[in-house]
């Protein structure tokens, strides 16, 4: 069973590495992200949201749902720690 798990893990890793070969190079100016996405946010963020910090604007405004559920994940992690560990204490 351990051998099988190892084979599956190695195969999955090899597939991921093979797929990563097709990604654009780091900082490639002709990648779709650099060609369409970045100029759009750089030129439009301030006039659309009036937030000077582009990173915060993308994080909290354009990707508001993402940040909402990131916060919920942190909340769930903390609540889980409380449920698992409170009640095991000395006092």
């Amino acid at each position: 069973m351990k051998i099988l798990s190892l084979i599956v893990a190695v195969m999955t890793g090899a597939m991921l590495i093979y797929a990563a070969e097709d990604f654009p190079a780091w900082g490639d100016l002709n990648a779709p992200a650099s060609k369409h996405l970045s100029p759009r946010f750089i030129s439009k963020t301030y006039e659309e949201t009036s937030i000077p910090n582009m990173v915060t604007a993308v994080l909290a405004d354009y990707r508001g749902y993402d940040t909402l559920f990131e916060t919920t994940v942190i909340f769930s992690a903390g609540i889980t720690v409380v449920f698992l560990l409170r009640g095991n204490r000395d006092d």
């Binding site: 910090n53 405004d61 940040t67 916060t71 909340f75 992690a77 720690v81 204490r89």
Partner: protein, 149 residues
């Protein structure tokens, strides 16, 4: 288990330092728009100030200032502020988390309303991150040493 320190230098210096650390944390949260920072980073800095209190003054002294009940309330309060800001936008006729809708309630134009909506959710994120970090730290600290019995 971290014992509370008997070193008077550590205690006195940390007394003064905690205020400045918290001020810096609030600055990082409030200036998340214009400079690097935001709710996650500022919340971690605020939690670090309380962790400094725990390591120098002990858990019991810290609990007097930031107790279990307060932590439990603030854990949920931050997420509530975030979700309620989104719901407020929905009630005011915009999409969920579309802060331009806040301009119907407050006297600002829709573009500027996005600025203040972002600030509201950063505050919510900061509150949750601060109290969750502190909760995890303290709960891991006061676990019983021998859990096999």
């Amino acid at each position: 288990m971290i014992e509370k320190s008997e070193n008077i230098i550590l205690k006195n210096i940390s007394n003064y330092l905690v205020g400045f650390i918290q001020l810096f944390g609030l600055y990082v949260i409030a200036h998340g728009h214009g400079s690097p920072g935001g709710g996650f980073q500022g919340g971690c800095i605020l939690a670090a100030s309380y962790i400094l209190l725990v390591t120098t003054h002990g858990i019991d002294a810290t609990r007097l200032r930031f107790g279990e009940f307060k932590k439990t309330v603030m854990n949920s309060l931050g997420v509530f502020i975030y979700a309620f800001t989104g719901l407020l936008c929905l009630l005011l006729g915009a999409n969920y988390l579309d802060y331009a809708g806040l301009s119907n309630l407050f006297p600002v134009d829709p573009i500027k309303a996005r600025y203040f909506g972002t600030f509201a959710i950063e505050v919510g994120v900061g509150i949750t991150v601060m109290s969750i970090m502190l909760t995890i730290f303290i709960e891991l600290l006061i676990v019983k040493k021998d859990t096999t019995k």
